[in-house]
Amino acid sequence: MDGDPREGRVVVVGASLAGLRAAESLREQGFTGSLTVVGDEPHPPYDRPPLSKQVLLGQAAADSTGLPMRRNPDAEWRLGVPATGLDPLRKRVLLADGEWLAYDRLLIATGTRARPWPDREEAALDGVFTLRTCGDAGRLAERLAAGPRRVLVIGGGFTGSEIASACRERGLEVTVTERGPAPLVGALGGTLSKLAAGVQRAHGVDLRCGVTVTALRGDGRGRFVGADLSDGGRVDAEVCVVALGAVRNVEWLADAGLAAGPRGVACDAGCRAFDMYGIVTDDVFVAGDVSRFPHPLFEYQLLSLEHWGNAVAQAEVAAHNMISPGPLRRPHLSLPAFWSSQFGLNIKSVGVPTFSDQIVLAQGSLEERRLAVVYGYRGRVTAAVTVNMAKSLEYYQQLIETAAPFPPGPGAADRPLAAELTLPSDVPDPKRLSHGPTVALTGHLPDRRLTLVRHA
C-alpha cells in the first residue's frame, strides 16, 4: 500500500468481540483514517460467554452483556446490515442494503453462527432453539423460566453441556443426546469426557450417548413435543436446544476468490488472508472464529478456534499488522486457551488437546474432581486441561510453549500414582461428533495422519 498505513479507509466486517477489539486497537496504535464496522445484528458488540450461563440462569438479562469499550474506536457503525459480497479487485464490500463500502484495508471478523437443525420445518417448531446470539439467549431463558417439564439438548459439546447445566441448576429435567461416546469428547478427548459424563449423570441429566436425533416432533399445531432417536427411543420434551456446533460465516465471500471454506478463511501467521490459490493478500485480514491460521507449536497446521481469548489476541495482531509496514508486523502466536463452567466444574484448557496421542493425569484426582490432565504428541507436551485447578494451568502453559518432553517430569507435591501412567488420548475423528469440536486442525488429525478430514 502506498502512503502512511495509519491513514486511509479501514472496513471491519463483524461487530462482535474480534471486530470491536480490532477497531479499538487500530485507534490505540495510531490509525487516524476512516473506520467502518459492519455488523449483521442490530446490537452494539456484546459478550457471548454469559449467554449460556448467567443469562440462562436468569442472573443476567440477555441484553446486558454488552462489551465494555476500552476506548471509543471512533468508528462508523453499520449495524443490522450484513455484508453480502466482497470485490477484492476494486476493494469494496457489498452490504445487504445494496451499498458498496470502499476500503484500503479490510478485516474479516464475521465469526460463526449456530448450526441449525437440518430439517427446516422441524427447526421452525415452537420450542426449538439454537443458542448463539443474545436474542437466542433471551428467548431460551424466557422459555426455561416458564418451567418446561423437560428440555432436550441435542449435542454434548461445550454449549450443549452448559445449557444442560443451567437447566439442572434451575431444577428442570433435561435430556442430552450426544452422537459421540460422551459429552465434551470432541474438545477434551476420551478420558475427561468420561468424567464429564459421570458428572452430568450425577447431576441428574438424562444423558444418551452414541445416539442421534432422527426427527423432531410437533403436536400438529406447530409446537415441539418430542424427538425420535436413532436407537428407536423417544424423548418427550417441551423445549429443544439444537447445540450441534457452529457454522462459519463465509458465504458472503463465495465469489471473492479467497481461501474461504467451511472451516473458515485461511490466513498467514500475520492474519493476512490467503486467496484461493494460497497466495497471501496484503490488504485483507482475518481474525476471530472465522479465521484459520498456522501455529508453529502445532506443526503449522491451520487451527480453527472458537475461543474468546483467540478472538481478542488475533484481533490485536491483525489490527497492528493492518497499520504497520512489513518488517514491523507481528505473528499471531498466542497459545489457544478456553474455559467453561458447568455442573460446578471450572474447566480450563491451554494448547490444543486434540493435537495429541497420549495423556497423563499429572495432578489431583478424578474422584475429587480436581485435576490437571496433560496432553502429549510424539513425546512433547501440547495441551493441558484443568478441572477446578485453574491456578495450575500456567505451569503447563509454559511446558507447551517450551515444547517440554511428555510426560512431564516427577516432583509435583500432589502428583497421583496415575502420573506414571500414560494413556491414549482417545481423540475422536470429528466426523463422529454431532457438534463441531471446539478446536479443529485443518488437514489431518495428528494420530490419523493419513486420513484427510473432509466436510459434508
Partner: protein
C-alpha cells in the same frame, strides 16, 4: 563483595531502607544465584513467576535438606506453608466464610465500615503538628478490620501484638545462629496465640456472631470442619496475615507519595487513578519482599538447575523491578499499564486476602491524600522494621508544614 553473600546483605538491617540496589545486583548476577549458606536466590520476574506456579516447588519448609530439625512430620503448619492437596483443603475451608463462592459479599460489605474507620482515623490526626503514620493510622486500621472480621476483641491487641511480632520475626529469612532459637520462640508464640483464638472461637459455639471464628466452629457439615489444631493454625495465620502486610502497604504508600509530590498532586486531582496507584505500590514497594520455597525435584531455571531439597528464596520485590518485564521499573507510575506485579505472590498460594487489602489501601490512601500536601517527612528514610521478608517502616513520623 560477591553475589554469594547477597542474602546476608539483603537481610542486613542497614540495607532495609533501600534494598533495591541489591536486587539489581542480584538480577545482574544471574537468574539463580547460589549463596554461601547453600540457598539459591532468584530475582527475575519470569523465573519467579514460573517457580510460584511450579507444582514441583514446595512451600513446606520440612522438605528442605537444611530444614529445621524441630519441625517434625506430625506438626501442624498453617496452609501458607503447606502443599496441595493439604494446602488446598485448608485454604478452601478457610475461604468458605470469607469469600466466593460460598460467601461472595463478605469483603465487599466491609467497604462502608472501612471507609468510616479511615475517616475516623484520619480525623483523629486532627491538626496535630506531628504524628506517626504507623501508630496513628496504618497499624490501627487493618488490626481493627481483621479483628472485626475474625471476631477478636480489639482490646486484646496488646496481647496478640506480642505473639504476632515473635511469629513474624521467626518466619523471616535471616540466616545465622539464632535461627533455631527464633524458630523455637516462634513456635511457642504460635501455640499460645492459637490457644487464645481457639478459646475465643469456642465461646461462640452454638452462639454464632457474624465473624469467621463463629463460622468455623459452627460449620454444620462435619466434612468441612477444621480440627482444633487446624483452627488454631488457620486463625493465627488469618489474624497475622490480615494486618502485618496491610500496615506496610499503607505506610509504604504514604512514604512513596511523599517522595513523589508530582504523582501525589496527580492523584489528588484525579482520584480515578487510585486503584492503579495501589497496584503500582504493590509492584514498587511490596510489603512481602521474599518467599521461601524448596524444590521437590531438580528444577531448571533459565538454564541453571536448582537441586532437589536445596532452599530457594524468591525475591519477589526484585522481580517487580525487573526491566525485562516492566518498562522503566524504578519509576513510580500510578497510571502504569500491564502491571501484573508479584505483590500478592502467584500460583496456588496467591494471597486470598488481596481483595480486602486493596479495599483497605484504597480507603486509607483516599482518606490521607487530601492531607498529604500539608505534611513533610520528619526523616527520610524512616526507621524500618528488622524484618527483610515483611518489609516496612516501623514508624513514619510526619510533621505539618505550618504547625497548628
Amino acid at each position: 563483595m560477591t553475589a554469594d553473600t547477597l542474602l546476608e546483605r539483603i537481610t542486613d538491617h542497614a540495607c532495609r531502607a533501600d534494598p533495591y540496589p541489591l536486587y539489581a545486583e542480584l538480577r545482574e548476577a544471574g537468574p539463580v544465584v547460589r549463596q554461601a549458606d547453600g540457598s539459591h536466590l532468584v530475582g527475575t520476574y519470569h523465573e519467579i513467576n514460573a517457580l510460584l506456579h511450579d507444582p514441583r516447588v514446595s512451600a513446606d519448609p520440612r522438605y528442605g535438606l537444611a530444614g529445621d530439625p524441630e519441625l517434625v512430620e506430625g506438626e501442624r503448619l498453617p496452609f501458607l506453608v503447606l502443599d496441595d492437596p493439604a494446602h488446598h483443603r485448608l485454604r478452601t475451608l478457610a475461604m468458605r466464610p470469607f469469600g466466593p463462592p460460598h460467601t461472595p459479599g463478605r469483603v465487599d460489605a466491609m467497604r462502608g465500615r472501612i471507609a468510616e474507620l479511615t475517616g475516623e482515623l484520619a480525623g483523629g490526626l486532627g491538626d496535630r503538628a506531628e504524628f506517626d503514620l504507623v501508630d496513628d493510622f496504618a497499624y490501627p486500621l487493618p488490626v481493627t478490620v481483621i479483628c472485626r472480621l475474625l471476631g477478636v476483641p480489639r482490646e486484646d491487641e496488646p496481647l496478640f501484638r506480642r505473639w504476632s511480632d515473635v511469629i513474624v520475626a521467626s518466619a523471616d529469612v535471616q540466616p545465622g545462629e539464632e535461627a533455631a532459637e527464633r524458630a523455637r520462640t516462634g513456635r511457642r508464640a504460635r501455640m499460645e496465640m492459637g490457644r487464645y483464638l481457639v478459646d475465643l472461637a469456642e465461646q461462640r459455639r452454638g452462639r454464632p456472631g457474624d465473624d469467621l471464628l463463629s463460622a468455623f466452629v459452627n460449620e454444620p457439615d462435619p466434612a468441612l470442619r477444621l480440627t482444633r489444631e487446624e483452627l488454631a493454625e488457620t486463625a493465627v495465620l488469618l489474624l497475622i496475615a490480615g494486618h502485618e502486610t496491610t500496615v506496610n502497604l499503607i505506610t509504604n504508600g504514604v512514604l512513596t507519595l511523599l517522595r513523589h509530590p508530582d504523582q501525589l498532586d496527580r492523584l489528588r486531582e484525579d482520584p480515578g487513578l487510585l486503584p492503579g496507584a495501589v497496584e503500582e505500590l504493590l509492584r514498587f514497594e511490596p510489603p512481602v519482599q521474599l518467599r521461601r520455597r524448596v524444590p521437590l525435584a531438580d528444577v531448571e531455571v533459565a538454564g541453571s538447575v536448582v537441586p532437589k531439597g536445596e532452599p530457594l528464596v524468591l525475591v519477589i520485590a526484585s522481580g517487580n523491578r525487573d526491566p525485562r518485564r516492566f518498562r522503566d521499573p524504578d519509576r513510580f507510575d500510578p497510571a502504569r499499564a500491564d502491571n501484573q506485579h508479584l505483590g500478592f505472590g502467584g500460583g496456588v498460594h496467591l494471597c486470598y486476602g488481596a481483595p480486602l487489602a486493596r479495599i483497605e489501601a484504597l480507603a486509607a490512601l483516599g482518606a490521607l491524600i487530601p492531607r498529604l500536601g500539608e505534611v513533610t517527612l520528619v526523616e527520610d528514610p524512616p526507621p524500618y522494621r528488622r524484618n527483610a521478608m515483611l518489609r516496612g517502616p516501623r514508624h513514619l513520623p510526619l510533621r505539618a508544614r505550618q504547625p497548628a
